[in-house]
């Protein structure tokens, strides 16, 4: 079908990387190998991560902090080493990294702790039209409770944020701007540094939802000058059940506790407590220790490949996918051109509902996502009830894109 054009050249060692992910050997049915194109929902895990978690449970597990026995010291050391790795990965200090359950909890932490102590009736929060429900609903909850106004940076026809409109909304002096760094539907990469600069000039704090971007590109919170940044382990080769909030020290320092319990306190008496130091004051209860260890291993794994190579690989696959899909009659690909997006390609196929597309593709072993991808308002704005989304990662191949295109042709034939 396609000639070996330069656009099919790999910029990373794809065979070695694929060999690191045991699940990629899986057959969905006998003779039908897995084609996993749902990494934006959750990535698969390399041996390095699975082994690190197994080693932790087999050899080192105990509860962390305070206990003096050997295992507790080892577990504490491994947990804190993981924190240091995640901090280094995004250019932060370890004390600025709060472990949470996921990126969603990280955003809720900011809404409930910073938001409740800094926002009052009539204050405005500026979001964007491409936010995932996780960076929308926590602010709706707070807005209802505190009588806040929510504004939305609109999309351009090219699926990017309209920065002129952003300036118009910033002129209304929002207290906070909360935006994603990469749309999980359109794939759009948002110019966060530029938005932070504009927002800070207008006196607003900035919360960055990096759940989609952190797996795919180098992030430096100092360079971005973000006030808060949320990310999640399971989209970046790590386990589920753990995410992180980055916050600038001086801001975190003034924030009241989020959840109360063990580990987040220095001293407790019957009617009061003294909170622990950062970041522990925001980590109540026994945390996800093995998951932190696994996430640390994932960061080591991704760093060894290099985020520059990861990003270039995904952009190449996404560009090839957009090119291949557009040759199929009736397909509309959402979002901007490849140079402005990550490895997410959402589309519609005329006359076939996304659920039917996903079901037919599954019969060929191809895993894609169908629905609104936790971005219902965005779909409503686009006039769509659902889309089909293929998303790529370090292990995705051009051949898998070919399989997707062939599967879509088969879907067309079934519905012809």
């Amino acid at each position: 079908m396609k000639a070996e054009t330069p656009s099919r050249q790999y910029v990373i060692d794809i065979q070695r990387i694929r060999a690191d992910f045991p699940i990629l050997k899986r057959q969905i049915k006998p003779g039908i190998p897995l084609v996993y194109l749902d990494s934006a929902a959750s990535s698969q895990k390399p041996d390095a991560v699975i082994d690190a978690m197994s080693d932790y449970y087999r050899n080192h597990h105990a509860n962390i902090h305070r206990a003096v026995h050997t295992l507790a010291e080892e577990a504490t050391g491994m947990y804190e080493a993981a924190r240091a790795k995640i901090a280094a990965c995004i250019g932060a200090q370890p004390t600025e990294i709060i472990f949470t359950k996921n990126a969603t909890e990280a955003i809720n932490l900011v809404a409930q702790s910073w938001g409740r102590s800094n926002l009052k009736a009539g204050d405005r929060i500026l979001l964007s039209e491409m936010e995932h429900h996780s960076n929308l609903v926590p602010w709706q909850i707070l807005a209802k409770e505190r009588d806040l106004q929510l504004d939305f940076i609109p999309l351009t026809d090219q699926g990017e944020l309209d920065l002129d409109e952003c300036d118009n909304f910033l002129a209304r002096s929002p207290k906070l701007v909360a935006v994603t760094q990469m749309s999980n539907v359109l794939g759009t990469i948002v110019p966060i540094r530029d938005i932070v600069r504009r927002a800070h000039s207008a006196g607003a704090r900035v919360m960055v939802d990096a759940a989609q971007s952190a797996p795919h590109m180098a992030i430096d919170v100092r360079d971005l000058d973000a006030d808060f940044l949320a990310c999640s382990s399971h989209k970046m080769c790590g386990p589920t059940g753990i995410g992180a909030l980055y916050g600038k020290t001086e801001i975190l320092h003034d924030m009241p506790p989020f959840l109360g319990g063990g580990d987040m306190i220095r001293k407790v008496d019957w009617r009061s407590f003294e909170p622990n130091d950062l970041p522990y004051t925001f980590e109540a209860g026994t945390p996800a220790i093995a998951e932190a260890v696994g996430w640390g291993a994932a960061v080591d794994y991704l760093t060894a490949i290099g985020f520059d190579g990861i990003h270039r690989h995904e952009t190449a696959i996404a560009a090839y996918a957009m090119e291949s899909l557009r040759e199929i009659p009736g397909i509309t690909v959402l979002g901007p051109e490849p140079s402005k997006r990550g490895g997410v390609v959402a589309f519609t196929l005329e006359g076939i509902h996304p659920h039917d597309i996903a079901q037919i593709l599954d019969s060929y072993g191809i895993a894609v996502r169908a629905g609104h991808h936790c971005a219902m308002p965005l779909h409503t704005k686009l006039g769509l009830s659902a889309t089909t989304r293929a998303s790529f990662y370090i292990y995705s191949t051009f051949e898998e894109v070919d399989a997707l295109a062939a599967g879509l042709q088969k879907a067309r034939a079934i519905f012809a």
Binding site: G351, D356, I360, M376, I414
Partner: protein, 129 residues
């Protein structure tokens, strides 16, 4: 899979017999499957003896949900409204002639859910009169 997209289902999806709205109607009800955004409305005309004289569906969804709505609305025409109560998941699956995973079962059963909500709603209303 090939079973799931049997020709009957594709035909029903592409060329439904009962798609449309009834104006006027005696019963109308609309609901959606929030997980996938499928929307479905069913309109019924019922004669004084409680017989469904005409049924139609409208909405937007996958082949399974739309084919199921088409088959169901066709099936109930000419039957007493009371019979709607007795319709079950098995009846819908029999009409479709396929087996479904739990997730796709929701697609298939949306039409039955909408029909029952509409029919019972009216029945209760009548009892109150």
């Amino acid at each position: 899979m090939d079973d799931l997209y049997r020709q009957q289902i594709i035909d029903r999806y592409k060329h439904p017999l009962k798609r449309g709205v009834l104006d006027p109607h005696d019963i109308t009800y609309e609901d959606e499957n929030p997980l996938c955004g499928d929307k479905l409305r069913i309109d019924l005309r019922v004669d004084p003896q409680g017989k469904i004289t005409e049924a139609a569906f409208s909405g937007d969804g996958c082949a399974i949900s739309q084919a199921s709505a088409d088959l169901l609305t066709e099936y109930i025409e000419g039957k007493p409204l009371e019979e709607v109560r007795a319709l079950s998941k098995e009846d819908i699956l029999e009409m479709l002639g396929i087996e479904l995973s739990p997730i796709r079962l929701k697609c298939a059963l949306l039409s039955l859910k909408v029909l029952k909500a509409g029919a019972y709603g009216m029945k209760e209303g009548k009892n109150e009169e």
